[in-house]
Symmetry: C2
């Protein structure tokens, strides 16, 4: 398990900072803050009371305050904005990269966000407002507008001048190159500019573009592209190929962490809205979790109905009903294992259309071996325990058959769902798991009827 624990700051560091925020100790406070990384200040900040927070904000240089604000969690950001006047906070926001500023304003209520925007310089406010219009989970939502770009016709020296002109508020890894039609054409790494003679034409030094994305491309696709080409930055362009902004590797890190979190929550049957799940809105949380339990509920009742339909059989051999938990538990579990392995294999590339059939056959082979092992074990354990070998055999056969069926369902469902355009992760969720449970109960009932009617056993 990832244990990305938020390293909590030492108590004494918080106490020291608190003391320094008292009136008259501003010089010491500034020195103390200077020695810390903004990300570490953010962690201390979280532990402070309101007046101490304001004092810290006042005594941080705007660039560092901006970096710190970007690191705070949304609740703390909101608390600051609702307590401090927009005129005071706007200069700090102005120091943020445009994507961080947009992310932050997204979290605020409409009115506060509007007030902050009104206190920002016009062109910066326009950039941020434009970013706010993109869905946060798309390339447009991830990109920042700050970048250095030069026409393809210029020289290495002119490109370096562009870096120098832009560099005050932009972190530059490479310079974006624009062709004569105004379209994005490629990049030149800062390193290659430094290595080349100033008079050399840029065209000889640049790397032509390999890939670019539109602003509506989903963030998962963006992460995939970064991974595939081992990128450090990626150009976002409009329909005519004109540069809109760039996405950097650290934004993609956040996507990967967020997507992994949503996957886990979705598999647990919690509809994947982590802001709601970790909020204080009890009834909204119920609204997210209950529907998933509903499918399990219906499946459970359906299983009960199947057992009840065969009640003539079970009335004569009540003991058979006692073993229902073994059957449902095992078939549910083996089906989930198979589904998860296929889903994850499809996502990671271990399983692709070329080896899909082979992988399914292999999975079913593995499950048949496990099913036989468990079936034999159940026969021996139940037979010996109840001194009733027909009963043992009935449970063992039913267990082996239902586990095999569950594995066939579990390993084929993800690919089938995907073919119909449904997220295969659903296959490991409560809905499909319930279907596998029902198949287990059905098979068990069938085997029980067979043993009692045809073999006269149990």
């Amino acid at each position: 398990m990832r244990m990305l624990e938020t390293g909590r700051p030492a108590e004494d560091e918080v106490d020291e900072l608190e003391l320094l925020t008292r009136p008259g100790r501003e010089d010491e406070l500034r020195t103390f803050l200077l020695l810390l990384h903004p990300a570490d200040i953010a962690e201390l900040f979280d532990e402070l009371d309101h007046s101490a927070r304001v004092q810290v904000l006042r005594n941080l240089q705007p660039e560092r305050a901006a970096e710190m604000l970007a690191e705070l969690d949304p609740d703390a950001q909101e608390a600051i904005f609702s307590a401090v006047q927009p005129e005071l906070i706007a200069p700090v926001v102005h120091q943020m990269e445009s994507d961080d500023a947009a992310d932050l304003l997204q979290e605020l209520d409409k009115q506060t966000a509007q007030q902050v925007l009104e206190n920002l310089p016009d062109d910066y406010a326009a950039d941020v407002s434009r970013l706010l219009r993109y869905d946060p989970s798309t390339a447009g939502g991830l990109m920042q507008t700050e970048l250095a770009h030069v026409p393809i016709s210029c020289t290495v020296g002119a490109a370096l001048d562009a870096v120098r002109a832009a560099a005050d508020d932009v972190d530059i890894i490479s310079v974006f190159v624009i062709d004569d039609g105004g379209r994005y054409a490629g990049n030149v790494a800062l390193q290659d500019l430094v290595l080349s003679k100033a008079s050399r034409p840029l065209e000889e030094v640049m790397e032509p573009k390999v890939v670019e994305v539109g602003p509506d491309v989903d963030q998962e696709e963006v992460a995939r592209i970064f991974d595939h080409y081992s990128l450090v930055e990626l150009a976002v362009v409009d329909g005519k190929g004109r540069l809109l902004g760039r996405i950097t590797a650290d934004d993609v890190h956040e996507v990967l962490v967020e997507e992994a979190e949503e996957d886990l929550l979705k598999l647990a049957g919690t509809a994947a809205e982590s802001d709601v799940i970790y909020s204080d809105k009890v009834f909204s949380i119920v609204g997210q979790r209950l529907p998933w339990l509903g499918s399990t509920f219906m499946a459970g009742l359906f299983a009960s109905w199947i057992l009840n339909s065969a009640s003539v059989v079970f009335q004569t051999a009540v003991i058979l009903l006692m073993f229902v938990p073994v059957i449902t538990g095992m078939s549910g579990n083996v089906g989930t294992q198979s589904a998860m392995i296929m889903i994850q294999g499809m996502a990671s590339g271990h399983v692709d259309p070329d080896n899909l059939a082979k992988t399914i056959v292999k999975d079913i082979t593995v499950c048949i071996i496990m099913a036989l092992t468990c079936g034999v074990a159940a026969t021996l354990i139940v037979g010996a325990w109840r001194a009733d070998w027909p009963l043992g055999l009935c449970v063992g056969v039913a267990l082996a058959l239902s586990m095999t069926t569950a594995s066939v369902l579990g390993s084929t469902e993800p690919a089938l769902l995907k073919r119909f355009g449904i997220d295969p992760a659903v296959a490991a969720g409560p809905l499909i798991t319930s279907i596998n449970d029902i198949s287990g109960v059905l098979i068990y009932t069938g085997v029980a009827v067979f043993f009692l009617d045809y073999l006269g056993g149990v």
Copy 2:
């Protein structure tokens, strides 16, 4: 769900490349390959037969062949190395970054790896051998030895010269600065070098180090540090603070993807060794999956034993046994939901020691509301269906109580396990889920006994 599909190349592109690998078409082949990114060549390469692969390797420049090799999956890498002579492949390996070369040699059998090492230049072979000694899941296993470093006493101009000297085989984002004692002291971004006068002392321009790691630090901690400080590279130092290498952001991407995959497989009860799970070793896969099913098996049998112990009760009311699937399904599901929410919250920082108690209380409140809803629904549905209201009430009360118990177990277990140093993800795995199932059956049996003995109902 992350859909990081390995975009499969178009059929016709593969066919075209295959044609170009025939004898006498080398010039066309080289032109074709020049237009593709090495990552895309790797995808086409995967589809080729052996002789075509050799022909492609021969007609790629070594740097690009190296990039392509690093992108291939381990099976394809192994196939190449077992078929091509070490003397031919060594020049390509030499073009790889040392961490990629070490990753690749790790995948080969010992003898082949040794042969490749012997054909590499001595100092490079020594670097790679050193990297091979680190555990692949630590900072040492992630780092590369290629970097540019300068003494703190030099000027901006001298640092730029160091970049120029190193740059041919190293991608440089910043230059590492070494203090007078030979210890890592900080970095200076390439951008800041470009911006500053050549005569300026480096010490005025550099950023003092914020963080560094030892080679044994776990890769998850490395990922956390990258995330916390929004890093693009991180220094790895020995016990005396001397620079051993650097970790770059793209290596950390791979860690995040890999860890997410292992988390999912672990939750599915498959002991998290993805190389085994996706291999062809059927019995090894059984060995990884079966133990987890074993705990479910034991728990199921234990539940059967509980039901059997109360068989006097259930003999008189067989119908009660028919509803066992509803009880186990629902309590298992709600417990897993609660556990997953806590585990994920603890991993992502939504849940920390400050709000742990509050979060648990909130979770149990949510679950009580859901339990009451489901309990009332079960009473009404079962009561109406069987026209037996005491039966309905018995099932409803048992369901509500077992769901509440499961949520208490599910939401408290992760924090308890963590306190005892056990990975909290275990709480959502088969072992603990089984315990929750058993508690459901126990409560159900208790409620049934109470209804029959004390109320004389059902």
